[in-house]
């Protein structure tokens, strides 16, 4: 996986994860990602929008216009069935990957010991 692939993959995954709890508008998603990643994934915030729209096109999320509690107009995004499944698959893949990495690291540690 190249750097950017890894990156976009990560961003997509984060978006899906964020939406798995409930529908959000674009700003809300961005805020949630910033807070949960604690600033580690510091990225051009605008990159969020192409990612969101791509996911929408792929059918992993769907969107519609609504009014916030304060009465402002915003576009709200929601996870679709397909998105949910994708999330599970990705989460599994990540955990398998990190297990593999962990195994390698611990093995090499032991090996080198």
């Amino acid at each position: 996986m190249s750097g950017s692939d890894l990156f976009t993959g990560t961003l997509d995954l984060l978006i899906l994860r964020t939406l798995s709890v409930g529908a959000l508008h674009g700003y809300g998603i961005g805020k949630a990602i910033r807070s949960t990643s604690q600033g580690v994934l510091d990225v051009e915030e605008g990159a969020l929008y192409p990612a969101l729209h791509r996911l929408d096109r792929k059918g992993l999320v769907c969107s519609e216009w609504g009014k916030t509690e304060t009465g402002r107009r915003a576009r709200f995004y929601r996870l679709t069935e397909g998105g949910r499944r994708e999330l599970e698959m990705e989460a599994r893949r990540w955990s398998e990957y990190s297990d593999a990495v962990k195994a390698v690291l611990s093995a090499s540690e032991r090996g080198s010991a």
């Binding site: 674009g26 915030e45 729209h53 929408d56 096109r57 009014k67 916030t68 107009r73 576009r75």
Partner: protein
């Protein structure tokens, strides 16, 4: 996050993406700035920082728009596809949950589509497909006919007559003669009777046909009588009998004991104008004598209309020619006319009207099916109104609901079409096999018509769509609360008047069909009831021809006597007799006779002469009503006696006893014949013409020895068992006597009778089948409407019962409604039947198209069916539990 749905900027739908994207980003920036402000920044700094953290706004916006543009189409397609398959699955589930509705709807669709497709395929094939001749539209047949009181009777043309027609007429570019016959082919295999056609000069040119192998006939072969025994074989015969031998040209074959030479093979699919000839020979082979007899009418004449001439002009022309011939040859051409009939009508004409009637019946069935589908869907849609409204309240879009209904409707149509396809294919095949040959000429190939199937399915799908959508549309538009309330009350919309009207129409149509079927059935039974005047169930008959090459005229009686003796000597045969022609088996011609010494024209009657052997009346089972039959003594002596038919006695001798009187049968000076008896009328030519009323000419019987001829018929009565079993015996005896004597026209006499009624039988069975289907469908429709009404008026019924109405009263209420609909339909149907009955007149025998008994019986039947159909909903209505109905919801 909770939010309330809103309309996107720009109005909705796809809108202007530009606005959406800008607004979305603007929202983000504003919120981000506010966040920073809360963190302590100044509004201006916050805004700037938000912008900076975002990145290049314009670039992002452009990219997002790019993505949107690309994705919009794909996403729409995908969503649409998912929506449709989801709807389809949902629809299927719904259909599965209501098995009764589904089965009824699918069967109704299937039956309707299948029946109509099958019928249309067959009718299409027989009415519209091309004749197997080039430029067949220009071909006409010149039919020699006798101008009888109740219409022209086609009898054929004589060779000199045909020549005169060709010379004297001005309307035809080509004329040729043909005559159907058969030969016994021996050698190269077992003896086989092969249908054949004798043809005159110009025949092949006229039909635009040439030999596929070898050649057709030369001028000498056409012109020199009794000299050139050459033949053309059909492609089938060549393949079958001669193994497609490439050297068949020039080969000698044996026809009727005579050597003939094959000069060519005909192209595949060509079987002459008789449509089943396997051999074609020159007319000249018949010999000089046959070809110069002006009174011998046995030829068919085919012609091509000259360019610019139409059938009407040709008819006028031929009227002129016939008149001229009558003037020039009064003894042979009196009352003789020439009909000009387009080839299409000759081959298919007799069937056209019946086909159209059948087509009409199929159309009615289609209407009834459509009506039933409409009703079924209306009922179901109304039943689901509550569900629809609920879903709308929960946020389902109107478009989504409609598309769901559409998909359901299409699924139903697809299932119905599948069933219909099976029925249609099977039905077309079954019809083609059971159709009598007269209705479906040999060259017509019946294929289940794909176009018709698709058209019918399309119509049904459309009907289903409209019927399924209509309630959906109104339900979607209605105010939610009002509909919920009324649905809860057990009410709801549903346009009962529309459904009622549909059912009334269904009942009317079904009645129409049933009346047609009833009339046809009565007509058919009347035909069957006609006594043909002889024991057709118990006799077997065949025909022999003693050809001039092998038998001198004087040898024939002895040969016949020997054959008869040998036949009667067989244990299987009880009795045998000989005759000039077998009833219903053709070979007739009429001439004139006179009563007493009269010379006036009123004393002249046209009649059919039958020469019969001894014991004929016994063997045939024909009763002699007065006097005595022809006896053996008559055939020995030169006694000139005759037995006349009842019809003749009524006409010639209305007030006197004919026995003992003299009649003159041929010329004036043969001394006349003494009438010795009166026989019951025998049906020689058809079953339905009114013999006694003068619709056909009567018959006279004379002893066999008078006016002998070469063609004879022999009839056998078996000692026991099925007359068909005598076939083997007959062939054996004749074959032993003379291996080259061909038997033709063999078969039990009952076969001829069945062939006569075949058309009527077919039409009757078909119409009856339609009638039954129609009744079932309309009964289902009636039941559906009433069940729905009861469901809709549950509350009202409950109130009535709570207030003290008896079960009987409730039942009567429902029954009353149902019977009102049914009776309305019956009356409408009777009126329609009365108006439409004219079209059936041509087919009805022995029953008037406005036969009260039939109408009455059919109406009563429909009423009974209606009562049965309404009974169940009526009973259900009485089971309404007032308490339950009033407290629920």
């Amino acid at each position: 996050m909770r939010y309330r749905r809103d309309v996107p900027p720009g109005g909705g739908g796809d809108g202007d993406g530009r606005d959406e994207v800008s607004e979305e980003i603007r929202f983000y920036l504003e919120e981000r700035a506010r966040e920073l402000e809360d963190g302590g920044m100044s509004p201006e700094d916050a805004r700037r920082e938000a912008r900076r953290a975002f990145g290049d706004v314009d670039e992002v916006a452009a990219e997002v728009r790019r993505i949107d543009r690309k994705g919009r189409w794909g996403k729409t397609m995908k969503t649409w596809f998912h929506a449709v398959s989801r709807d389809a699955r949902y629809g299927l589930r719904g259909l599965r949950r209501n098995p009764a509705f589904t089965v009824v709807a699918v069967l109704t669709l299937g039956l309707g589509i299948g029946a109509v497709t099958a019928i249309f395929s067959v009718v299409n094939a027989s009415l519209l497909r091309a004749l197997p001749f080039d430029e067949a539209e220009e071909l006409v047949f010149l039919q020699g006919a006798y101008d009888a009181p109740d219409g022209p009777a086609v009898r054929g043309a004589s060779p000199p007559e045909a020549r005169d027609w060709e010379e004297m007429s001005r309307s035809f570019s080509e004329v040729a003669v043909a005559n159907g016959t058969s030969f016994t082919l021996t050698g190269d295999g077992p003896a086989e009777v092969v249908p054949a056609e004798r043809v005159g000069q110009g025949y092949f040119d006229l039909l635009r046909v040439d030999a596929a192998l070898g050649r057709t006939f030369t001028e000498e072969e056409y012109r020199e009588p009794g000299t050139h025994f050459v033949a053309l074989v059909s492609h089938d015969l060549w393949r079958r009998r001669f193994g497609s031998d490439p050297d068949v040209v020039g080969r000698r074959i044996d026809l009727g004991g005579q050597p003939w030479t094959v000069v060519g093979v005909l192209p595949p699919g060509f079987h002459g104008t008789t449509l089943n000839a396997d051999l074609v020979v020159p007319m000249a082979t018949l010999g000089e004598e046959a070809l110069s007899s002006r009174g011998s009418r046995f030829l068919a004449v085919v012609a091509r209309l000259a360019p610019g001439v139409d059938v009407e002009q040709a008819r006028a022309d031929m009227d002129r020619v016939a008149a001229r011939l009558e003037a020039e040859h009064p003894e042979n051409h009196e009352d003789r006319i020439a009909l000009v009939t387009p080839a299409r009508d000759v081959y298919l004409g007799s069937t056209r009207t019946l086909m159209l009637v059948i087509l009409g019946a199929a159309g009615l069935l289609l209407l009834i099916t459509a009506a039933n589908i409409v009703n079924l869907l209306l009922v179901r849609a109304t039943a689901r109104e509550g569900e629809v409204v609920m879903r709308r309240a929960l946020g389902a879009g109107r478009a989504r609901l409609l598309s769901q209904f559409v998909t359901e409707s299409l699924v139903l149509s697809a299932m119905g079409a599948a069933v219909g396809l099976v029925f249609g294919v099977w039905g077309a095949r079954a019809l083609a096999e059971t159709m009598p040959a007269a209705l479906l000429p040999a060259f017509v190939e019946v294929r289940p018509d794909a176009v018709v199937f698709l058209a019918v399915t399309g119509v049904m799908a459309l009907v289903g769509l409209v019927a399924g959508l209509a309630p959906g549309l109104t339900a979607a538009r209605k105010d939610v609360s009002e509909t919920l309330r009324s649905a809860g009350r057990g009410g709801g919309s549903g346009r009962p008047s529309l459904q009622g009207a549909v059912v009334v129409a269904e009942v009317a149509l079904a009645l129409l069909l049933l009346v047609g079927a009833g009339l046809m059935t009565r007509s058919f039974r009347a035909q069957l009831a006609v006594s043909p005047g002889y024991d057709f169930e118990e006799l077997y008959g065949f025909q022999l021809f003693f050809s001039g090459e092998r038998y001198e005229s004087e040898e024939i009686p002895a040969a016949l006597a020997e054959i008869l003796a040998r036949l009667e000597a067989r244990p299987e045969v009880a009795e045998a007799t000989v005759m000039s022609d077998i009833p219903l088996r053709g070979g007739f011609s009429a001439t004139y006779m006179w009563r007493g010494d009269a010379t006036a024209d009123e004393d002249r009657i046209r009649f059919y002469l039958h020469r019969v052997g001894p014991e004929w009346f016994d063997v045939m089972g024909t009763s002699v009503l007065r006097g005595r039959p022809i006896e053996s003594a008559d055939t020995e002596a030169e006694a000139q006696v005759a037995v006349i038919s009842q019809a003749l006695a009524d006409r010639f001798y209305p007030n006197e006893d004919p026995v003992g009187k003299t009649i003159f049968l041929a010329t004036r000076d043969d001394g006349g014949h003494t009438v010795v008896g009166i026989a019951e009328d025998v049906r020689y030519r058809d079953l339905t013409t009114d013999i006694r009323g003068g619709g056909d000419d009567p018959d006279v019987y004379v002893p066999w020895q008078r006016f002998p001829s070469r063609g004879v018929g022999i009839v056998l009565r078996p000692r026991a068992g099925d007359p068909a079993g005598l076939e083997k015996v007959a062939r054996r005896v004749v074959g032993d006597f003379d291996a080259l004597l061909a038997l033709t026209g063999t078969g039990p006499l009952s076969d001829d009778l069945r062939a006569q009624t075949a058309q009527a039988r077919f039409g009757t069975v078909l119409l009856a089948g339609f009638g039954v289907l129609a009744v079932i469908l309309s009964a289902v429709g009636l039941y559906g409407v009433l069940a729905f009404t009861v469901a809709r008026r549950t509350r009202e019924i409950a109130v009535r019962m709570a207030v003290g109405a008896e079960a009987g009263e409730v039942r009567r209420l429902v029954l009353g409604q149902g019977m009102r609909l049914a009776l309305f339909g019956v009356v409408l149907g009777l009126v329609a039947a009365f108006l439409a009955s004219r079209s059936l007149e041509a087919f009805l025998y022995g029953v008037s198209p406005v036969d009260v008994a039939t109408y009455g019986v059919v109406a009563a039947l429909m009423v009974v069916v209606a009562v049965v159909a309404t009974w169940i909903p009526a009973v259900r209505a009485t089971r309404v539990d007032p308490q339950h109905a009033l407290t629920v919801e």
